[in-house]
């Protein structure tokens, strides 16, 4: 298990979006986060990415219960959590607003394709924490970057200006940033928004491939349920009533019907 969240109370400002968000993510898994607009998908993703600490609005609005547990943690006397929750490597981690110890990297929606950056330069720019003052990457990170480009099939576009990429290819370049930064969990907010059918399918298949080949967990939100279900192993969903549901591989249809009663 890469990430476990238990009893997170998700709120935006004073409005509670979901009183009890609990789920887990396994390595190599590609999971769809579904729900109507404004139900809390982006808020949850931003919280997982540690945005709650960075942004003023988020830190005020994201109030998890004290029992929000993240992580690749092992039992420890420091926590009052039941041992069933805590398995894996690393230190135990009980947190209120701190980001999880599993490295969660969020790719937000609508990143502009700024003219004047090659794909490689774009990925290096995204590795802000990993690069030196002049934006150079260490040899190891640079190798990972090249590996990511190979995995995503961006080898021929590596030196191409990002403004000339298709939206789908650019989304892949964004995924390359997550791979280069060595995410444990890759979070994507609406990666298929505004894409045409071909690019949409390409991006979604890429997500599944990335999860399976790198062993990281991929959690993405999307409204394209039909296409997304082709690649998602499991579904997490917000219902209109504010309950948060986690499906197994089997009961995806029931969970989706609860989230979208119109189906």
């Amino acid at each position: 298990m890469i990430l476990e969240v238990r009893q997170l109370r998700l709120a935006y400002g004073s409005r509670i979006l979901a009183p009890d968000v609990s789920f887990h993510l396994e390595g190599g898994e590609c999971v769809l986060l579904a729900g109507a607009n404004g139900c809390g998908k982006s808020t949850l993703l931003r919280f997982l990415a540690g945005e709650g600490v960075v942004s003023q609005t988020a830190s005020a609005s994201l109030r998890p219960l004290p029992k929000a547990v993240f992580g690749t943690a092992s039992p420890s006397p420091k926590t009052s959590m039941g041992p069933s929750l805590l398995h894996g490597r690393g230190w135990p981690w009980v947190c209120e607003t701190t980001p999880s110890p599993a490295k969660c990297i969020l790719i937000p929606t609508g990143i502009p394709k700024v003219k004047g950056f090659t794909v490689e330069e774009f990925v290096r720019t995204g590795c802000f924490r990993e690069s030196d003052w002049a934006g150079r990457l260490s040899a190891e990170t640079e190798r990972r970057l090249q590996g990511a480009l190979d995995l995503l099939g961006l080898r021929t576009q590596a030196g191409q200006d990002i403004s000339t990429l298709s939206d789908g290819e650019f989304q892949k370049a964004c995924i390359a940033v997550g791979l280069t930064r060595r995410a444990d969990v890759l979070l994507l907010d609406e990666p298929t928004a505004f894409l045409d059918v071909e690019n949409r399918v390409m991006v979604l298949r890429t997500l599944r491939k990335v999860a399976q080949e790198t062993g990281m967990a991929v959690l993405f939100s999307s409204h394209d349920l039909h296409d997304a279900l082709q690649v998602a192993h499991r579904v997490l969903a917000f219902t209109p009533a504010g309950t948060f549901l986690e499906s197994t591989q089997k009961n995806r249809p029931e969970v989706l019907r609860a989230a979208f009663p119109i189906l």
Binding site: T57, P108, I111, K115
Partner: protein, 307 residues
């Protein structure tokens, strides 16, 4: 890059030769007038272009320039106040007072904007505050001019028109020091400037601190632009045009290239403006010649980009 430096050298040489039409300067004129004028143009152009490149990045607006944050308004108010106060003093003391007052005005405005930058998350708020502050300050200096005497107005307007002449070596050293401070701040934020082009949200998620970035950039720009504006008057267009020229010529927007490139391009533009200002027998205001050179350049760039 080599090509750009060559261009800079040629323009610099040409500039030394201009003054009252083209002429070979005598030694005294060269050291006392032409050389400081040429160096002032180089430093001022470089400083304005450097600030312009940073402003365009943090506001993600191709029209942003160093004067956007009200610095020239603040300098103008300082200059107007000084012009009113120094009526009757000698030209030299008057000029010095005006420069100091303009710098203080620019710096105070810059500090206000920097303080706002450190407190707000929103780029739009910062932009609005900067532009509004500029308007308010120029309104106040207009009121002052309205009631000013003839001599003060003349002093004020000659500053407003802009010129690279008459800056002493001490003044030049001061401007250079400010430019170096601004350059150090800019280089320290180089990769954050790249990152912020992809949006505030993405920059924050990637680990950049937006407040600290804006604070440092604003501080650097206030220092450099303030010093240049105080000595040379409010000069536009170099700050806007130079970074665009660099991006256009090099085909890249990474600040590893854009920042040093802007220094050179800005110096070249300022030299060209200065040459144009001095080829006629009576010197023209540099503010105007820069506009005459800068605007067609910007339009040409936009034209080729969009159509």
């Amino acid at each position: 890059m080599l090509y750009a430096c060559l261009c800079l050298l040629v323009l610099g040489g040409l500039d030394l030769l201009t003054g009252d039409g083209f002429s070979i300067p005598s030694e005294a004129i060269l050291w006392k007038l032409r050389l400081p004028r040429m160096l002032t143009a180089v430093v001022a152009g470089a400083a304005l272009a450097l600030s312009g490149a940073q402003m365009q990045a943090i506001f993600r607006n191709p029209l942003a320039d160093p004067h956007l944050m009200g610095v020239s308004g603040g300098a103008g108010l300082g200059a107007a106040l000084a012009a009113l106060a120094v009526t009757g003093l000698g030209a030299w003391t008057g000029g010095l007072t005006l420069v100091s007052a303009a710098f203080v005005g620019a710096l105070l405005t810059g500090l206000v904007i920097t303080a706002v930058a450190a407190r707000t998350e929103s780029t739009t708020t910062l932009l609005l505050v900067g532009v509004m502050l500029g308007f308010v300050l120029s309104a106040v200096s207009s009121i002052l001019q309205y009631s000013a005497g003839e001599e003060s107005l003349k002093l004020f307007y000659s500053w407003m028109a802009g010129s690279f002449s008459g800056v002493s070596y001490t003044g030049l050293a001061f401007m250079t020091a400010m430019l170096l401070a601004g350059l150090a701040l800019a280089l320290s934020q180089m990769k954050a400037l790249d990152l912020i082009l992809f949006g505030d949200a993405y920059a924050a998620l990637s680990g950049a601190s937006l407040r600290s970035l804006r604070f440092r950039i604003m501080l650097g720009c206030a220092l450099t632009t303030g010093a240049v504006t105080a000595f040379c008057g409010p000069l536009g267009f170099v700050g806007i045009a130079a970074p665009h020229i660099v991006r256009r010529v090099t085909g890249t927007s990474t600040h590893r290239t854009v920042l040093p490139g802007s220094l050179v391009a800005g110096a070249c533009l300022a030299l060209a403006g200065d040459i144009l200002a001095h080829v006629c027998s009576t010197p023209l205001p540099v503010g105007s010649t820069l506009a005459l050179i800068g605007i067609p350049l910007i339009v040409a760039l936009l034209w080729r980009n969009r159509l």
